[in-house]
């Protein structure tokens, strides 16, 4: 719990919009960024936000796409070291096998910052890591539901992510923590929708039939927005109103969920910010200015969005990011 409260760096849209002056320590610096690849829309958005953040700070960003392969990432990092960059950002594709190459970076006195995922390597091999707290994402979603339904009885159906995947485990855990002690809220059904729209739709179709045509369901919690979008369609096909008859809460904050919010079909989403680079650059800035190492784990904010947050505006801001 200590990490969660510590240093929830203001990230996301606020940072995107702010025109605060950045310290000069970053200007003109060359920073290498080894990205995993482009396996999802979120990843693509992370790449474009990183480029934006670098440009805003006058950083010369060298971008390397690893196409989901660790050996490509290791090659890219060695390339960065040979070029003598000032710092390296890595979004590691797997958690093991980094000791050697991170050691090389350390020997060359190049600070390395991990984005989005952690690694199994001694902590002194990297400067810091920037990541979201997935348990908290689930908890924020659960807290919203607890607050929204109050004392009313509420049967929740849950669309899980891929079985055994870390975000699925953590987002489930966080949500369950939030509804613990609120006996009126109960998860009645939980199945995997593999994080995809079509599986989300199929699973929700099954749930609606199994729960008396959906009359027993008060809310749908999806581990990501894509499954929620699929689930919303299934709710509509069953002749119910998503967002009203069945509350819809999910995690990620991709543009399409804001489209659903505009028409009142989604009620809440928790943002997994694509802006991991912003806090990373800020940490580097602080490190170079004050010579003091930052926290080992920087946790990004898990911001809750509801229809009150001007979904149209957020949609317009996000749609160009490559989600």
């Amino acid at each position: 719990m200590k990490f969660f409260t510590k240093l929830a760096v203001a990230a996301g849209v606020a940072a995107l919009l702010s025109s605060a002056a950045y310290a000069d320590s970053l200007k003109g610096k060359t920073i290498g960024f080894s990205q995993i690849g482009s396996e999802s829309g979120w990843r693509a958005a992370e790449t474009s936000v990183t480029k934006q953040q670098a440009e805003k700070r006058g950083i010369n960003l060298k971008f390397a796409d690893a196409q989901q392969k660790q050996e490509n990432q290791i090659k890219a990092i060695r390339g960065f070291i040979a070029q003598g960059v000032d710092a390296i950002l890595v979004a590691p594709v797997v958690s093991t096998g980094w000791d050697a190459v991170l050691g090389e970076a350390k020997d060359a006195k190049i600070p390395v910052i991990l984005l989005d995922r952690g690694v199994d390597a001694p902590q002194d091999l990297y400067l810091t890591s920037v990541a979201s707290d997935q348990v908290k994402e689930g908890k924020v979603a659960g807290d919203w539901l607890v607050k929204t339904v109050g004392d009313k009885k509420c049967n929740v159906v849950e669309l899980q992510g891929t079985v055994g995947s870390t975000p699925a485990i953590n987002r489930k855990k966080g949500f369950e923590e939030a509804i613990k002690g609120h006996d009126n809220i109960k998860i009645v059904r939980s199945q995997t929708g593999d994080f995809t729209r079509s599986k989300g739709k199929e699973v929700m179709e099954g749930f609606l039939k199994a729960e008396d045509g959906g009359k027993n369901i008060c809310a749908m919690y999806a581990h990501n927005d894509d499954m929620a979008v699929g689930g919303i369609q299934a709710i509509k096909d069953a002749g119910l109103k998503p967002g009203k008859d069945v509350l819809v809460v999910s995690v990620d904050a991709v543009p399409d969920i804001f489209k659903a919010m505009m028409t009142g079909e989604a009620n809440a989403t928790v943002e997994l910010t694509p802006n991991m680079a912003g806090p990373a650059f800020d940490a580097l800035d602080a490190y170079w200015t004050s010579k003091k190492a930052p926290e080992k784990f920087i946790i990004t904010e898990s911001k809750l969005y509801t229809p009150n947050d001007d979904p149209k505006k957020v949609y317009e801001e996000k749609k160009g990011l490559g989600y």
């Binding site: 829309g41 693509a44 729209r197 739709k201 699973v203 099954g206 039939k209 199994a210 069953a238 490559g322």
Partner: protein
């Protein structure tokens, strides 16, 4: 006499389907409830058919390919390409008819590519189609630029979610495709040609069958089927998801064909039985969803049922059944 007429309907596959449906009914009493809602049928049974369609259509093309002693691993990727092509075209302002025709044409082209690799370059089918399985998803991602391309075109959406005569549109499409392909294959010599190429391509060629052309046509048909599935899946979620559309469905399609009783060694095949195989698979999937089992059980349950079906189909089981039959016949004669 009466029993004999029924006997084609009494086979391991239909028994398996009935058993799976009954188990679903036992786990969820409302399983067979079908109601009329918003001008269409609505219920778990309809879901089984509707959700089974993508794999069923893939299985139609896959049956023919497997009958030639081949396999088409690229169908899942071709689905993604077809959906991506259609979605990007309509979002670029082309009419839906153009988008659909273009998507189907690209599907056929992908299949023809596979066919040429197999028939003329004589690359093993599993390797030849693996190329497109891997590259195809990349092509689809290039077309959609890695994101989910959503569209609002009513015609394209109706392919996935519309209804005709109370049935979901995908089910209608699958039924029409099933009848046409069974008719073409069985009312002409095409079916025999396919089987003969599968059993022994050299002999078939010597007998005067233009096996190369036939193989290209069969793979082209498989690509065409995959493209239809791709359109249905895209229309269903009103968007083309290049990363996930059709992912691993080639394996389900092969499984459906094998459950249907077609041998991977080529030769005798039945398109209708493959479609039945696809419905069995989906009946299991839907059953798991309505039963309330935790998701960790999904694959175990599926594997268990499939092993059971294969055991029922195995030569040993067939021999045992035959033995019992003869024993009974002998006993009857004796009495």
């Amino acid at each position: 006499m009466k029993l004999k007429k029924l006997s084609p309907l009494v086979n391991p596959q239909s028994i398996a389907l009935v058993v799976v449906l009954l188990v679903n009914w036992a786990l969820f009493p409302g399983f067979f409830n079908v109601t009329w809602q918003d001008g269409r049928l609505f219920g778990s049974l309809i879901d089984v058919l509707n959700r089974g369609v993508p794999v069923a259509i893939l299985a139609i093309g896959m049956s023919a390919v497997i009958a030639t002693k081949g396999v088409d691993l690229s169908v899942g990727a071709v689905m993604a390409i077809s959906g991506a092509v259609a979605a990007t075209l309509v979002t670029d302002g082309y009419p839906a008819s153009v988008a659909v025709i273009a998507a189907l044409a690209i599907g056929v082209l992908c299949g023809v590519w596979n066919g040429v690799l197999v028939a003329f370059l004589e690359i093993q089918p599993i390797i030849a189609t693996l190329v497109l399985m891997v590259a195809g998803r990349g092509i689809a991602q290039l077309i959609t630029a890695g994101s989910i391309v959503t569209f609002a075109d009513p015609l394209l959406i109706s392919i996935g979610t519309g209804s005709f005569a109370g049935l979901p549109m995908p089910v209608v499409i699958a039924i029409v495709l099933l009848f046409i392909s069974v008719f073409v294959v069985r009312s002409s010599a095409v079916g025999l040609f396919i089987e003969s190429v599968g059993v022994n391509r050299a002999a078939a060629s010597l007998a005067g069958i233009r096996s190369g052309l036939l193989l290209v046509a069969v793979y082209g048909f498989s690509g065409f089927c995959a493209a239809i599935s791709g359109l249905i899946v895209a229309g269903d979620i009103k968007g083309a998801d290049a990363n996930n559309a059709g992912l691993w469905l080639e394996l389900d399609a092969i499984l459906a064909v094998v459950i249907g009783g077609t041998s991977l060694l080529g030769g005798r095949f039945s398109i209708a039985m493959s479609v039945l195989g696809a419905i069995i698979i989906q009946a299991m999937n839907t059953g798991i969803l309505v039963s309330g089992f935790p998701p960790e059980f999904n694959l175990v349950v599926k594997a268990g049922v499939i092993i059971l079906i294969f055991t029922m189909q195995s030569p040993l089981a067939t021999r045992l059944i035959e033995m019992r039959k003869t024993q009974r016949a002998v006993a009857r004669k004796a009495s």
